[in-house]
């Protein structure tokens, strides 16, 4: 198994090299070969370690194997003089403090409950067993929460975001606790 793992590791490294060459030469051919090699290396890991271990390791390894190429591209920057920055002027702005606190409270506990309600209501519609519904729900929920938090952060019309999310949560909550389900 050690030899096979080593060969799979070599495969992952070669794949990273191929992707790097495609980037370096702006070559579509190298890109295709590199990414195919990357997929192939994941397959090698599956052959060596089984589907669960192999997939996990195969998908995580590029984070390491690309650093040889990144080191080749390392570019030293010229030292510059020290920049003296003026002192930051802190001002007490109660409205800003309240606003930011509100944002944080909405994103943290607020979106936690919104996402939990929506997620449970949605997964319990799925035509799968209850353990599968729970697994999908609890593992997809952080992704949904993350997407909602991202959307809230970039939205210039936060009131609309809150209205839509809360509305969806109310509908979900009514279905869950309003006796609508069997």
């Amino acid at each position: 198994m050690i030899l096979e793992s080593f060969l799979a590791l070599v495969g992952s490294t070669v794949a990273a090299g191929g992707i790097y060459l495609s980037w370096r030469n702006s070559s579509a051919v190298y890109a295709w070969l590199g990414w195919l090699a990357a997929a192939g290396s994941v397959y090698c890991w599956y052959l060596v370690l089984g589907v669960e271990y192999g997939l996990t390791i195969g998908l995580c390894l590029p984070a390491l194997t690309v650093w040889a190429a990144i080191a080749v591209e390392a570019n030293p920057q010229r030292q510059s003089t020290a920049r003296i920055k003026p002192a930051h002027q802190w001002r007490l702005a109660p409205r800003q403090i309240a606003l930011q606190t509100g944002h944080i409270l909405y994103v943290l506990p607020g979106q936690l409950f919104i996402c939990a309600l929506i997620m449970i209501a949605v997964v319990y519609q799925l035509p799968v067993s209850e353990p599968k519904q729970m697994a999908i729900g609890v593992l997809v929920m952080p992704v949904l929460w993350g997407l909602l938090a991202y959307w809230y952060g970039l939205s210039s019309r936060k009131w609309l975001h809150i209205a839509i999310s809360s509305g969806a949560a109310v509908v979900a909550g009514l279905w869950l606790f309003g006796g609508a389900h069997g």
Partner: protein
């Protein structure tokens, strides 16, 4: 009609979202990432904390029975479980325990020293709860898992040059471009690992919220009913109250499955009651499920297995989250991989805030407190170990006291260029002091595998810290010379 949103506009707004989210969670995320990375080795730390305990990977059924009998005769306070832990967990020691205490077991089945893993517990509690009250702390840490998902998505969306810059790395200069490139390269290429950690990490705290809501919606508030749907419920038994026949159960188990190196532990549930039963947790090779569990009644008769290896896919998935998140599969090679990837995520957390501070046009206490926090955390962790092993001071208390003192020192120094090299030197010094304390405390046991597998890498960290501090100081002198010239 609304104007079409340009990619630049979306990238800019994504960056604003990413920046806001990053600022909200930066300090907490750094602590969670660093403590989690170190806690990958939590089993090694437990061995290191008591290096004098004799180690073995072999045991006999008679040894186990003797230990169980001695333990139950010695301790008769109320407990809902007894546990016997085997070397299959990755710690080559035998442990007999209940809900209140744990004893190591020697090769005769005699109870020896009590397990005392206070410092390791502090490290794990820092990661799981941030040393906050458990129910609240775990939810906060899990929320950070969800916000890490948000940071990953917003970070990718904020990066229009993601392909152009895929292998770029500028280093040196004033540090801004170095931090930007480190942050971007580590985070983009680490996306699969980071997402996996974020989602599985969020599970531990969110599961409780999920269970409560599902229980309220569908099971009249009965949370146990929800757990029984997700995981195999306990068998319903009515038996004569008697000590469990561990030997019969273990002999039957060894005939059913290969327990060699795979037997993790067994639990005696509800001891001294008619519902008493034994449950053996056996690791399954090539599977991420924590274990397959084999159940026996008090007389050692086989009742069946829990079905985590071949039961409902949802149940198997939930039961696999632990090993995926903590890198607890295959052994040391995967632990080393997780430590490297975990440190990368930790560096991403640190560099994010570095970028924001460097880009700011003004300067204040945050410019001092942030590097003090980043480099002070490892100093505080080692200092807590020094004080714990030297004079049995609470590691949790000492950790936070050290953090507060290091913050105060940074404010007093009032020069961010001096903080990083100084704290790196401090780290090296504290590690050297720790080595001395550890040697005095444990004598020859300090040269056991259990001790050296932690202390040698720690020494390597000290050497690196000294070397890196020298480089930082040289750079500070160069900048000062340039500015003077």
């Amino acid at each position: 009609m609304a104007k079409p949103v340009s990619a630049g506009s979306l990238a800019k707004r994504s960056l604003q979202s990413h920046t806001w989210l990053g600022l909200v969670v930066s300090a907490v995320m750094f602590l969670i990432c660093l403590s989690g990375t170190i806690a990958v080795l939590h089993k090694e730390f437990e061995r290191w904390e008591q290096p004098n305990i004799p180690e073995t990977t072999s045991y006999t059924i008679e040894q186990v029975e003797r230990a169980y009998t001695s333990f139950t005769e010695q301790y008769n306070d109320d407990t809902h479980h007894y546990y016997f832990v085997f070397p299959g967990t990755g710690i080559p020691r035998l442990v007999m325990e209940d809900d209140h205490r744990a004893h190591f077991v020697d090769d005769q089945g005699t109870l020896i020293e009590q397990e005392n893993v206070t410092w390791s517990r502090m490290l794990v509690d820092l990661h799981l709860y941030l040393h906050l009250p458990h129910s609240f702390g775990m939810i906060l840490v899990s929320a950070c898992g969800a916000l890490l998902c948000a940071l990953i998505v917003s970070g990718l969306m904020a990066h229009p040059r993601i392909i152009k810059d895929a292998f770029k790395f500028r280093y040196g200069g004033d540090g801004l471009k170095e931090n930007i490139d480190l942050h971007n390269r580590l985070s983009v290429w680490g996306t699969p690992f980071d997402l996996m950690i974020a989602i599985t990490g969020a599970y531990f705290g969110l599961a409780g919220v999920f269970v409560t809501l599902i229980a309220q919606a569908f099971y009249d508030g009965d949370t146990q009913a929800v757990y029984d749907r997700a995981f195999t419920p306990e068998p319903e038994l009515v038996q004569e109250i008697a000590p469990p026949d561990i030997g019969t159960a273990m002999r039957d188990l060894q005939g059913r499955v290969n327990t060699e190196g795979n037997l993790l532990f067994f639990t005696v549930h509800e001891p001294h009651t008619p519902q008493q039963f034994l449950e053996f947790f056996v690791k399954t090779p090539e599977r991420l499920i924590y274990s397959e569990n084999y159940r026996y009644d008090s007389a050692g008769n086989y009742l069946g297995k829990a079905g985590y290896s071949d039961g409902d896919g949802g149940m198997q998935t939930l039961y696999s989250v632990f090993r995926i998140h903590f890198g607890d599969f295959i052994g040391m090679p995967v632990k080393i991989l997780y430590i490297i990837l975990g440190m990368m995520l930790t560096v991403v957390s640190a560099t994010g805030m570095n970028i924001w501070l460097k880009k700011r046009q003004t300067r204040d206490a945050l410019n001092l407190l942030w590097p003090a926090f980043v480099w002070g955390t490892p100093v505080a962790l080692v200092a807590s170990a020094v004080s714990y092993f030297a004079v049995a001071l609470s590691p949790t208390l000492l950790f936070w006291v050290a953090m507060a003192v290091l913050a105060g020192v940074a404010l007093r120094l009032n020069d961010e260029a001096r903080i990083v090299p100084l704290y790196k030197q401090l780290l090296a010094v504290v590690i050297a002091l720790f080595w001395l304390v550890y040697l005095v405390r444990f004598g020859t046991a300090a040269f056991s595998v259990a001790a050296l597998q932690i202390n040698l890498p720690l020494l390597a960290v000290a050497v690196w810290a000294m070397w890196s501090a020298r480089r930082n100081k040289r750079k500070v002198m160069q900048v000062a010379a340039l500015s003077a010239g």
